[in-house]
Amino acid sequence: MKESRVWMVASLVLTCAVAAFALSQVYAVTRPKIDYQRKVKAVQEALAAVMPAAASFHEQEPGEMWFALDAQGNRIGTVLKAAKQGYAGPVPVTVGIGLDGRIVAVRVASASEGLKETPGLGLKATEPSFLSGFVGKTAPEVRLTRDGGAIDAITGATITSRAVADGVSEAMERHLEEPAP
């Protein structure tokens, strides 16, 4: 019976079924933990993207403000998060600010992270062609050119561009309220 053709097929099917059931159970238990770990990692990557020179980040205000530290533990800047209402939903920005008060880099959450702006227009706010305009700017310059600032808006996506600029501006104001290191 052990070597019959029917059992040959049935034993394989049975093995697969038991394996699938066992894995589904393990997956159900570990998935929330894995998702949480990935989220932590995503935050770390967002921080590193706007402050590439930092070796580590110290969370100053949970989910909102981090101090960027170099390998010796000296503070080299600040990373802040902010979100302003855009065209179709909030536009989350992560801003890296150097000790001189100038922007190091700005990152806008991508569509896969929940950004709802229009593809081809507002979604361009995540691209370097727009975000590079923020690099090196100081607080008073962070407004669209049509609002008297130095940031070029994305053509056809003024509302999204303004949401990014306002978010960055808010982050910089909060940065100014923090005592210098």
């Binding site: 052990k2 070597e3 059992w7 034993s11 093995t15 894995l23 997956y27 894995i34």
Partner: protein, 202 residues
């Protein structure tokens, strides 16, 4: 093979006399690739050991039901199930270790030690013997990974389990070579030469 003395021999033979990596020369890939530090080596050994013990137990318990003609696919399903379990568990609870071991966790599926023990031992022996065999081989594998990891970490970065042990003058310019793949080959060659010289496994 039911006397207590031979049971003990099943357990201990895997540690030195039939050490999987240094005597049987199987499972070399993770031995070379995941031993940049003592902690990484032991983490790999723990993951592979979990899979080896689990698959040996299941294969041995099911051996009278498994048809000869399809035994290898069934072994692979059993092994990959255990590998996937440990993969999820490490991702969830040991993310930093998982990041270091990376692709070598799923690659435990093709670790020769595990399929080799399923085919050569667990498929022919009782559950208790198979458990002892798996534990012994795991200890032998862990011993080699630990020695490799500890020596490479000590020489390559001057630390032990991440704690500095060598003077800072050495740690400023350690023999980085040991952390790279050639260092692993170099060290396993020395270990194998010592094992040959000692006559173990003859």
């Amino acid at each position: 093979m039911s006397q207590p003395e031979s049971r003990i021999r099943i357990l201990t033979s895997g540690i030195i006399k039939e050490n999987p990596t240094l005597v049987l020369m199987i499972g070399l890939c993770p031995t070379l690739a995941t031993t940049m530090s003592a902690r990484d080596g032991l983490g790999m050994a723990a993951a592979a050991g979990f899979v080896l013990i689990g698959s040996n137990l299941v294969v041995s318990a099911a051996r009278r039901l498994v048809p000869d003609a399809v035994r290898i696919p069934i072994f692979i399903i059993i092994i990959s199930t255990f590998v996937t379990i440990i993969d999820y568990v490490m991702q969830a609870y040991q993310p930093s270790l998982y990041k270091v071991l990376g692709v070598f966790v799923p690659l435990i599926v093709v670790n020769c030690i595990i399929l080799g023990r399923a085919e050569a031992f667990a498929y022919r022996r009782g559950v208790l013997d198979s458990l002892l065999d798996a534990v012994g081989k795991t200890l032998g594998f862990a011993l080699v990974l630990f020695v490799m990891g500890a020596l490479r970490e000590l020489i390559g970065s001057g630390t032990f389990f991440g704690r500095p042990v060598l003077p800072s003058t050495y740690r400023a310019a350690p023999m980085l070579f040991m952390l790279f793949p050639p260092g692993a080959f170099f060290l396993i060659g020395i270990l194998k030469a010592l094992v040959n010289k000692s006559g173990i496994g003859k």
